[in-house]
Amino acid sequence: MRDEFLLGNQAIARGAWESGVKFASGYPGTPSTEILETLAHYPEVDTRWSANEKVAFEEGMGAAIGGLRVLVTMKHVGLNVAADPFMVFPYAGTNGGFVLISADDPGMHSSQNEQDNRYLARMAKVPVIEPSDAQECKDFVILGMEISERFGTPVMLRTTTRLAHHKALVALGERREVAKREFIADPRLFSVPIYRRQLRPKVETRLEELRSYAETTPINRVEKGDPMLAVVTSGIAYQYVKEVLPEASVLRLGMTYPLPERLLQEFCAGHGVVYVVEEGEAFIEEFMRSIGITNVQGKERFGVIGEYSPARLAEGFGMGQAPPSFSEAIPVMPRPPMFCIGCGHRTVFSALRQLKVTVAGDIGCYTMGALPPYEASHTTFNMGASIGTAIGLESAGQERVVAVIGDSTFVHAGIPALIDAVYNRSQLTLVILDNSTTGMTGGQPHPGTGKSIQGKAAPKLDIAAVCRATGVEMVLTVDAWDRKQVAGAIRKALAHPAPAVVISQGPCQQLPEMKYREFTAYFVDEPLCTQCEACFKVWCPAIIRTDEGFPRINASECTACTVCAQVCPTDAIYPHRETAVMAD
């Protein structure tokens, strides 16, 4: 056994490997992505990115009833996509161990909503375990497999952002191989009413058994302390409680569904006020009130919105406020993220801005198309929503509606919507920003990239062919860095009296093949420059203004995307082999 400094997510992957998992699937989404990226390095596990979370869940379901131990990962809203199988699978129950990672994102660091997936688990009647540090991230996956097989149920392991994305020392163990269980064809696996009615009472019986388990499992434990100060807590919030109130009596709940009624009653009976500290909704607190515990305080002190922190707990306990930022005394402007230098999305949003069209956006880096300087994206909701939203906007009388979606998101949830656009005679223009990766989550391959999660060659989906197959007649593929081609194609598509697709192709600048390729940076030949300002209007952060008013390209940041050279009327911008690396 040795200790390694691991991210919560890396520890989850390690736990899956140690527990003998043979199959793992998921779809990238912050804060869950690093789990499968880590697991992909272990040859004993068949790890894959799936087309979306629903497919990932179903593949995992199949592998588990086929007798393997399985890990399925997704961010909180990913489970909405996979909600259908998630709600149905528990009736049948699992064969091999099945642990679902639901990575919730309170504070919405990289998400479109706050959603406490413990409620979805309760709806599905699936047990929930919540680790509180990286070590437990590893240990709880192993425990989750045991619970899953012992009770024949899928198990949800819920993380929140700080748990998933904190690093700590983790004691490593060895892998324990688990024999494949036999697949048994059984009416249980057949979700039709006649069988389901038979299974329904068994789900309640299983929940009763899980309730008994929750009363005695060592992951629900009382840490005796000051009898006047009692806290019930779960997840990363446990660490904050120990930080702020090291002397408190604590009931740490490692299992938060089903909850241990007797344990909670006993703990609360022995104390005056009991504080409930949990990130997300008042899930534990509501249960405590529902079983008649009245000496509870929780959300009214600590709030329901956003992430918890030691400072927030201290304030909630009346221990004083942390100092505020200096933004009252001096303006501290925000620094939102922006398109990378040389990003192929820039030309598309420049064109959309000039065309003054209504743009329904989607989930990916291109949400930044709504920010200055482009301000050319008008809606973003959920994965794949651009196309359906555009169809609706058009039906509501909005003219010249453009849907913008990335390649990975198109594969995930855009294809059925495009079929619908054709079927329902929409006239929308769809721009697919094909950067050959899942960009925002850090560059994961998907079916359209021709690569697997292990970086090996995989069959490559032909996105243009898919579009044509839905019945779209006009499918135009353009070079993302060719301004005229991009704008021209979008114009042509808008004029087409039926749905039309523009595929703007240009690999993400963060991909290793782009980042580490050899190229010559561009440079401004000042004697040729007339200071016409055209190059400044491409809004490239690598172009700065000299004291004399000339543009200067920061050679260490330039990606040779050529867009500034395309707009220069005097050809004063060109690649220059002798350009020295300039000051940034």
Binding site: P31, E34, H109, K167, A168, P334, P336, P337, M368, P372
Partner: protein, 201 residues
């Protein structure tokens, strides 16, 4: 000495792409190497695209929370001046300091940012009574041949302010930095450490 005082808290901040995460990781791994319990946290995802980024590192005998509390940080290490302003309230006014790279990056996606940028950030923080250590880390890194090493210059600068021997830092660097860049980064570290000695406040 209370439990809290035995824990060192450091907040690293900067602009996505500046290498503040690597700087934090070097610090964490050095603390691990020195035998401490260590926790670190950062947020991944879209904020890395040129946005404001922060990483928290805490080490000591036993660390509970990975998250640093405003007003309790022994060090705030800022790779950029506007970000220094944004996170300066984390500094512990009694015993902490803010180490600032004298470097400006104008936010690219904020209208009128160039005009409104707080060039006087450092003077403001000094007037607020904070212990401010200003270092031209980007300039030093450029002089050594690669401006991207500003983070390692800062590692050198903070190394003498933390209770870990220099040799442990060097071991981490030798272990963590690919051989191709190692010699240059060790020079950047030495330059930062030297300069911090000269600017002890």
């Amino acid at each position: 000495m209370s439990e809290d005082e035995k824990i060192y808290s450091i907040l690293f901040c900067g602009v996505g792409g500046q290498g503040s995460l690597l700087l934090a990781e070097i610090t964490s791994l050095t603390a691990v190497r020195a035998g401490y319990d260590v926790k670190q946290t950062e947020v991944h995802g879209v904020s890395q695209r040129g946005g404001s980024v922060e990483t928290h590192v805490r080490f000591g005998a036993h660390v509970w929370s990975p998250v640093v509390t405003p007003g309790k940080s022994d060090l705030v290490v800022a790779l950029e001046k506007l970000e220094a302003l944004r996170f300066a309230h984390f500094v512990n006014r009694d015993r902490g300091a803010i180490v600032v790279n004298d470097h400006e990056i104008i936010p690219g996606s904020v209208s009128g940012a160039a005009e409104a940028y707080p060039h006087d950030a450092i003077r403001f923080l000094q007037k607020e009574g904070l212990t401010v250590v200003v270092l031209p880390a980007s300039q030093i890194a450029r002089d050594l041949g690669d401006g991207r090493m500003a983070n390692v210059v800062l590692a050198g600068a903070i190394s003498s302010r933390l209770p870990i021997p220099e040799e442990t830092w060097l071991e981490t660097l030798r272990h963590r930095i690919p051989e191709k860049y190692r010699a240059l980064n060790l020079m950047a570290f030495a330059a930062g450490r030297q300069l911090a000695h000269e600017t002890v406040s």
